[in-house]
């Protein structure tokens, strides 16, 4: 595949998927919560740009609505809420020491390769571009999971959770030019409610264990000890 021979839209989408993938890696290695939230907002912004681009190029006005929704939720509301929490807990100066940072980054890279491997069969049915875009979305999903495993702070878990949503959203736009409107509205509604619930949970967890370190929540076991 020669990238220069593709049309402008395809080139733009490919660059966007590269950037989205990059932000996921940036988040994975980030120990400072405020910076983590900032990178998350940047990822949301990239997603908004991709959506608007798709809406413009494909002349698909309903994608503008999802672009606005993405912007409002992923760039403004959720980062703002998390930012507020971090400041309230006075955690903005803490740096979380990530265990095995190198191993985490390496496994992140292998997850990306794995995504390409899993989606390889799709190539028979469509273009190389689709494979790239879908594989990046899947790796954003998997890197989000990795982020949740490697970080201990509840805030980082929420960022991971929401970045998984970002990956899914990216897949929906690039592969299928957006889901039907009613589904997209439903998903956006779920994300909004989830964000609000996370806010409520932070409050409960803080009153319960006086910290947002989820490793301290360890009362329940598979079998009683």
């Amino acid at each position: 595949m020669n990238i220069e021979s593709q049309d402008f839209y395809t080139q733009a989408i490919l660059s966007m998927s590269a950037l989205v993938g990059l932000t996921s890696f940036l988040m994975l290695g980030q120990g400072r919560l405020l910076r983590l939230i900032f990178v998350f907002a940047v990822q949301g912004l990239l997603l908004t740009l991709t959506t608007s681009l798709a809406a413009y190029s494909l002349d698909n006005p309903h994608l503008y609505i999802s672009a606005v929704l993405t912007f409002a939720l992923k760039v403004v509301f959720i980062p703002w809420m998390l930012h507020k929490q971090v400041l309230a807990m006075n955690m903005h100066r803490d740096v979380e020491a990530l265990k095995n940072n190198t191993a985490v980054m390496l496994s992140g890279a292998s997850l990306m390769v794995f995504s390409y491997y899993v989606l390889q069969p799709i190539i028979h049915t469509s273009s190389m571009i689709m494979l790239n875009a879908l594989a990046v979305s899947l790796s954003v999903v998997l890197l989000g999971l990795m982020l949740m495993i490697s970080h201990r702070q509840a805030v980082a878990h929420v960022v991971g959770f929401m970045s998984i949503e970002n990956g899914l959203f990216f897949a929906a736009i690039v592969a299928t030019n957006g889901m039907p409107m009613v589904v997209e509205l439903g998903v956006a509604f779920d994300v909004l409610v989830a964000a609000i619930l996370f806010g409520i949970f932070f409050l409960h967890i803080r009153t319960s264990i006086d910290s947002l370190d989820v490793d301290l929540m360890n009362k329940l076991h598979e079998v009683d000890k």
Partner: protein, 486 residues
């Protein structure tokens, strides 16, 4: 097709109404009435479907066929009987100061929210909306798990939220892949409608659908509680209020399995192989065996029965995976009897916990001497769920065994072993709780055991003789799912 709209509107109205008035004294009765009306509506719906066959309405937005209509009735029925139990239970919890007005409002409002999400999962024809409502069900119940605000319950709710949220995100990826495959054959406006997809299943790209099914199974499988994605389930069931455990076990798990089976029907059509079925069989069998072993190591009574739920869901997943008319019929029957019996057990367990003031099995003793009705309820419920004749669970498990012997004879010993282990695991705990010495000062409480008797009565009836209209229904659903008649 007004019944579907009425059903959804009623629950939606309930959410708003209870959010404002949920703290009032007799509000539990009103909740019961709303659920009672819902039950009547679903019966009306069932009769319509029975007479007219499959209904596709609201611009193809809703699909009611023989597979989901009986699940809709079952959902409404369990929702209704659980609300019968929940009214005095929650009043008692308020009396002893475990709950405030605000939390009661939340509880009743979200009870209806959960019912709405369940009805939507079942009635919708759009695979995207199915995902949205499944996630909605998590969101509605997550704050109910932490209703008591103890550190344990907050931990359980957080786990539930994160695990189910992340898990179900995988199902969305699967749904997107499904949509991608469907939009390749044109008509992207309707490409997520199940009826359209099912019609064109053979044209869908098998490679993409295979990948999609892996994600769908992992995603919805998290909600079914398949091992190793089950970690949230015992925690969420044991820490939330008991009526919630009853509806989670009786309804949510069923509906998640329903979503998987709907997707399997599409994938089977496209791939023309048994790959989806093998995946389900593997996951199902592992869940069944692992959960049976875990039963032995439990100390909390609600955790015990949530592992039993995992075990039964595993068996159903296995049976649906096996495919074929007999196994599918057995799985459908098992879904019904498991819902009935398990929610009855949770109701009894709720009473037992209120009598003794604890959920620790080592401290629950002498139920039959304190309050015979509760003791017998628990004993008979356990007998039924362990698969003794003449209850319905025996019939369905026997049919599953029969189907296994026919198609995969070498798996039969594993199933028998699992059933045996599970039986021992349940009875070693239940026997002392029911028959043990009654501790000093343990008194009977005001208990409403009518729902338990009705549920167990139905389970018994289904074990002795399946009424002809129900077996017709199951046969039609079997025909639809497995493609061959019994």
């Amino acid at each position: 097709m007004i019944a579907v709209y009425l059903l959804l509107l009623l629950s939606a109205a309930g959410i708003i109404f209870f959010a404002l008035t949920g703290h009032k004294d007799d509000i539990g009765t009103l909740n019961t009435r709303i659920n009672g009306v819902s039950l009547l509506i679903t019966i009306w719906l069932a009769i319509t479907v029975f007479n007219q066959g499959t209904i596709l309405s609201g611009g193809k937005a809703f699909l009611i066929d023989s597979f989901n209509v009986y699940l809709i009735v079952l959902t409404a029925f369990v929702g209704f009987t659980t609300s019968l139990f929940s009214a005095p239970y929650m009043a008692h919890e308020k009396e002893i100061g475990k709950l405030t007005d605000k939390r009661l409002k939340l509880y009743y409002s979200m009870y209806q929210g959960f019912m709405l999400a369940m009805y939507l999962v079942l009635t919708t024809n759009n695979m995207g909306i199915m995902w949205v409502s499944m996630e909605g069900a998590t969101l509605a119940t997550v704050l109910l798990v932490s209703l008591y605000r103890t550190p344990e319950s907050i931990e359980a709710a957080w786990k539930y939220f994160i695990l189910c949220g992340v898990g179900i995100a995988q199902a969305l990826f699967g749904t997107i892949l499904l949509y991608y495959a469907a939009s390749q054959i044109g008509d992207s406006g309707n490409a997520l409608l199940w009826s359209v997809l099912h019609e064109h299943a053979t044209q869908l790209n098998p490679d993409i659908l295979e990948i999609a099914f892996v994600f769908l199974l992992i995603g919805y499988g998290t909600k079914i509680g398949l091992v190793p994605l089950h970690n949230w389930l015992p925690d969420a069931h044991s820490e939330g209020p008991t009526p919630m455990s009853a509806v989670l076990s009786g309804l949510l798990l069923n509906d998640a399995l329903y979503a998987v089976v709907r997707n399997k029907m599409l994938v089977d059509g496209a791939t023309q192989t048994h790959i989806a079925g093998y995946l389900m069989m593997g996951f199902g069998l592992v869940s069944f065996l692992v959960a049976a072993l875990f039963l032995h190591r439990q100390k909390d009574i609600k955790r015990l029965f949530s592992y039993s739920s995992i075990e039964h869901m595993g068996l159903m997943t296995f049976a649906f995976g096996m495919g074929g008319a007999l196994a599918t019929f057995a799985a459908l029957l098992h879904m019904t009897v498991h819902s009935l019996v398990k929610s009855a057990i949770f109701v009894t367990v709720g009473h037992a916990a209120q009598i003794t003031g604890t959920q620790k099995m080592s401290q629950i003793r002498g139920l039959i001497k304190t309050q015979p009705k509760v003791g017998w309820g628990l004993l008979i419920g356990t007998v039924a769920i362990a698969g003794f004749p003449p209850f319905g669970v025996f019939t369905s498990e026997f049919l599953v065994l029969l189907a296994t012997m026919h198609s995969y004879p070498w798996l039969t010993p594993l199933l028998l072993l699992g059933i045996g282990i599970a039986f021992a695991g349940l009875f070693r705990h239940i026997q002392p709780m029911v028959f043990g010495e009654k501790p000093e000062g343990q008194n009977a409480i005001k208990a409403n055991l009518i729902p338990v008797m009705v549920h167990l009565g139905f389970a018994l009836w289904l074990g002795l003789a399946i009424p002809s209209f129900l077996s017709d229904w199951f046969s039609q659903a079997t025909q639809l799912i497995s493609g061959s008649a019994l």
